[in-house]
């Protein structure tokens, strides 16, 4: 029950800091991207070639316009003009075709690379051990698969094309200008320093301004999301006016930072426009001078005007690319960071498949330490015959869930060993072990998808009949049928459409259908309504029959009914035995039970 904010993901900084620009790192980055293009070498080559061709053909028309005008003035007209215009149209057609191929191919390759990278990252995440997930916040990992991939998307699809195209256009235009007339070209270039200066200043300021806009928009969205989610509280406490005032204040701050971008754009773009007028004036003045000297044709002057018109565009485009490039590189680094992680729990070389087990579990002197921290289990010895229900009892941090995690081999003991039917867990493959285990987490985590899919999660090949039977056995069938589409009802994200108790029942059905020999169950601490409570108790009874079960127990009924109660404290087993045995022993359990019994009376 955390405070949920729909807009909170917007608060994540799109961190554009790249700390390592060393050649080694750069090579690794390029290496990763290069490797991703390898399966699509032909298409990549196509897209590069078509990009070059498209850019080149786009540069041709003004050059041809020069000939058209010069010919016209010399009054030759005739066939040569038709040839020039023919070439003009030909260049246009070629540009169209190349542009088409380029757009399609670059897009295809770019998206393919991204899809591959996304899936590769996901597959890698699947291999990583639970320890990795406990060290890293879920939000950060999700962001790797979504925000970071999208940041690269901008670079791979539009960025690279734009970079190449604009650079080539710029260089190509410059070359053509110099070929047309180097003196006039030099004169035109006089505007470039001014242009660069204006752009550099603008780029720096606007990067800052847009960062502020993004941040404040994030805050605005988060505020709105929170207020909508908490509108009932706002109204209960009649805080409508203050909430409105607060929202307006946040909106006003967003508006203020946005106004800065308006001012920046409002100055920069007219300045660029003015510079292009100045460039035109320079071309006309100096070009006119050259024309008077008879060393420049009107056609060349005309071509210059056309080129100069298109000269400023690439500069602006390129300046905008810088930020995209930075954030994409930062994103790539973060993704590589995940790809570099190695799973801690690996199948040993020669690990065997765990055969059908009976369910006899033994902990032999098991000690465990998370990472470099303090030891949390100090020599656990347990012998649990097949079919036993074990209740783990103890306070937070006593080691209950660590024992459960070791049994599922999410971690490996640092000392001692854990066996099932005498087989050391470290000697078998993880998947063969876990296929015979069932885990029911607290609150019964469900996935988006239908009820049926959720029940069949551990056994995707289960038939509809089997799914229904499992639901019937745990007593979930009735309420499922009452949902609008029965078993085919979409549950929404994390199954939030169901109540807590219903979610638990579905999780029970899921575990039952997987029919594990060993069950690990983390009992929910939340209370549910009475009817459901009773149904859960009954379902539990069915689920536990004939299985070895480890329950992190919170309910007295569960504990009392367990075959073996293990009382843990500070990573040690303090007492173990049945309810009656422990009461007779008059130890810690007895005193706890006594406290409880007197409290309830």
């Amino acid at each position: 029950m955390r405070v949920h904010q729909a807009g909170s993901h917007l608060m994540h900084e799109r961190g554009a800091e790249v700390d390592d620009w060393s050649w080694a790192k750069t090579r690794r980055r390029l290496g990763l991207l290069w490797g991703l293009t390898q399966p699509y070498r032909r298409r990549t080559a196509f897209s590069v070639l078509s990009l070059l061709a498209a850019t080149a053909t786009a540069l041709a028309p003004p050059y041809l316009a020069k000939y058209a005008l010069d010919d016209a003035i010399k009054a030759k007209g005739g066939t040569q003009l038709y040839v020039v215009v023919g070439i003009f149209v030909g260049a246009g057609l070629a540009n169209w075709a190349m542009y088409y191929v380029e757009t399609y191919m670059t897009g295809w390759v770019g998206e393919r690379i991204l899809a591959d990278l996304r899936v590769r990252l996901f597959e890698h995440l699947q291999r990583l051990s639970l320890g990795f997930y406990e060290r890293n916040r879920a939000g950060v990992l999700i962001s790797r698969l979504t925000n970071d991939i999208e940041a690269i998307d901008q670079l791979v699809t539009d960025g690279v094309t734009s970079l190449v195209q604009n650079s080539l256009t710029l260089i190509g235009t410059a070359i053509i200008l110099f070929i047309l007339d180097w003196r006039l070209a030099l004169a035109t270039c006089a505007v470039i320093p001014l242009m660069s200066l204006a752009t550099a200043v603008f780029r720096k300021r606007s990067a800052r301004a847009y960062a502020a806009v993004r941040e404040r928009l994030g805050l605005l969205t988060a505020t709105l999301a929170e207020d909508i989610a908490g509108m009932r509280v706002v109204q209960s406490f009649t805080r409508e006016q203050p909430a409105y005032d607060n929202f307006r204040a946040v909106a006003r701050r967003y508006r203020e930072s946005n106004m800065q971008t308006v001012v920046l754009n409002g100055i920069y773009f007219p300045v660029v426009d003015l510079l292009s007028s100045v460039a035109l004036a320079v071309v006309l003045a100096y070009g006119g001078h050259l024309y008077f000297g008879g060393t420049l044709s009107l056609g060349t002057l005309f071509a210059f005007m056309l080129y100069v018109q298109n000269f400023f565009d690439p500069v602006q485009q390129l300046s905008q690319l810088y930020n995209t490039f930075l954030s994409a590189t930062a994103a790539l680094d973060k993704i590589m960071g995940v790809l570099d992680e190695e799973p801690e729990v690996l199948d040993r070389p020669g690990a065997t498949t765990l055969a059908q087990i009976g369910g006899h579990v033994a902990f032999e002197g098991v000690r465990f330490t998370y990472g470099r921290g303090d030891e949390v289990l100090h020599g656990i010895d347990l012998d649990v015959p097949a079919g036993t229900t074990v209740a783990l009892v103890g306070h937070t941090g006593a080691g209950k869930s660590t024992i459960a995690k070791l049994l599922a081999r999410f971690y490996e003991p640092t000392h001692g060993r854990l066996t099932i039917d005498g087989v050391d867990l470290n000697d078998v493959t993880q998947s063969s072990l876990r296929r015979q285990l069932g885990v029911v987490p607290q609150e019964g985590f469900l996935f988006a998808g239908t009820v049926a899919e959720n029940i069949a999660f551990g056994r995707p090949d289960a038939t509809a009949d089997e799914i229904v039977r499992a639901a019937q056995t745990v007593g979930a069938h009735d309420f499922i049928l009452r949902l609008e589409d029965g078993y085919e009802t979409e549950l929404g994200e994390r199954g939030t459409r169901l109540s807590l108790g219903q979610r638990q029942l579905v999780a029970f059905a899921r575990a039952l259908l997987a029919d594990p020999r060993i069950l690990i169950l983390d009992e929910a601490t939340s209370s549910v309504d009475i009817g459901t409570e009773r149904r859960i108790e009954e379902a539990l009874r069915v689920l536990l029959a004939d299985r070895t079960a480890f329950i992190i127990a919170h309910r007295l009924s569960t504990i009392r009914d367990a075959d073996l109660i293990v009382v843990l404290e500070h990573g040690r087993v303090i007492e173990q035995g049945s309810h009656d045995e422990l009461l007779a022993a008059r130890g810690l359990y007895t005193s706890l039970y006594g406290d409880w019994a007197s409290d309830a009376a």
Partner: protein, 597 residues
Amino acid sequence: MSAVPYRATFVRLLGFLKPYRVGLIVSIVLAVGSQAAQIALVWVTGRDVIDKALVHHDSHRLWISVVVIVALGVVRAALMAGRRLISGRQALDVEMDMRSGLYAHLVRLSFGFYDRHQTGQLMSRASVDLQGVRFFLGYGLIFFFQNVLTVVSVTVVLFFFEWRLALIVLAVTPVLVVLAYRYSHVTHPTLRDVQQKLADVATVAEENIVGVHVVKAFAQEPAEQAKFLRRSEAVFDQTVRANRQRATYVPLISFVPLLAQAAVLLAGARMVSHGSLTPGGFVAFNLYLGMLVMPLRALGMWIGQAQRATAAGERIFEVIDEPEEISDAPQARELPPGDGAIRFEHVSFEYLPGRPVLRDVDLEIAPGTTIALIGHTGSGKTTLTSLVPRFYDVTGGRVTIDGVDVRELKLHSLRRAIGVVAQDPFLFSASVRDNIAFGGGDLSPDEVEAAARAAQAHEFIERLPKGYDTVIGERGITLSGGQRQRIAIARALAIDPRILILDDATASVDATTEAQIRTGLRAAMRDRTTLIIAHRLSTIALADEIVVLDDGRVAARGTHDELARTSEIYREIYEHGLLERQFADAVEARGEMEDVA
């Protein structure tokens, strides 16, 4: 959507611009001015520089013309800057108005509305839809106007220059507009679908990562990979589709004007060689032609943009037009002083017509007493308590506080007198202090602390990293269920309400904490009328009287001893569940006490 309401929505959207008429007119004048300067600039280039100065080798004239060009450039840039600053500011103002207007309405919509709409849906209207509308109203309309102006004025000038060449251009114009419009029309649904598919990928990723222990426990990594691959491929397919649309239209859109250019080049050059067109005219004509391309493309895009903005506006108006179900009656008055006597008189209520949730509930609650409401899920407990602060209005009968029908009271005055602690209390991402002082306006630190002490929250708050200034929630630290509940109780107590409504939280707390909360509640309930929805025996023990609800009716009422004798339902509830004290929590509590010691 039929055409008429579509147009009506569009006109209504334009209403947002009304307060900015003057600015709008000034922007338009400036736009016209800079457009004129641009046209003049090209004119001077062709007619003066080339035809007069160059052809006649008049260097004096050349210099004058060049100075004029720079001057026109300055004028144009200045007008453009003015236009950008004015219309940019105005766009932001319109955006602010729309946001504020929508928000102002959202805070007035009642609980029923929020029951029917999910946060996500409303967020999408208030952000995505609003974005579309404000972009169109703020910038789109001005650009649209400017583009139309450019196209019309340049076309007129072209005709003036050489009508035969202008005809060629005119032939291409509609093609370009239609192509651009088609592109925007075709690609928009695809791009929206891409976003949807990306959201699907994010969902799978999120669930996989948050539920990683389940995935690993069931050894379902391969199946998850297959699922992810499928979603990821769906994104790929859709983006490639969008890409194909782009490849089809964008290169074509840049090719079409080239055809016109070629035709103009051919015809123009022939005219020049025949002497019917001056070289300057030829150059100017080509430059004007260049001026047309971008606006023509943009026109097509803006038409699509306008349609989408209207559709988005339609969705926003749906919210704005939503009636305020619960608001002050015309002659509403303040809640008179009193002790907090509550009466339900033959109250019935239904969320959906024909599905009564409460049936003829008659209940009188004496001032200062505590009533525990118990009953199965769906028996109407929460609904009953919601009628007192008028979160909903009764569909029959009436609810009175100190003798006054709640519907005759000012909402503000009514709700100020009632402290509510919901079952799953919602806290804001703010400091603990701000959360407790939420309903109280400007409470002193002492008052906040007093409320926290009363709710038994003071001690744990003091232990938080920054005490009362610790930020909680998404942007701060996470609190346990019990801690959240106690802060919610403190928040309710901070307004010193006449009536307290508590929904016993689902989240369990350990035995020690529960005992503390009970102590706190007992203090809090003194001199207040309290309604508690109880799930536990210990909570029932706090009440003077117990009311058992069953299927929307009061099934029984009395003390524990009376009900244990007379009410079957009470016995059933009492014997199951409610008795089930959570033993393991007692163990945990003991452990924590040891840790502290």
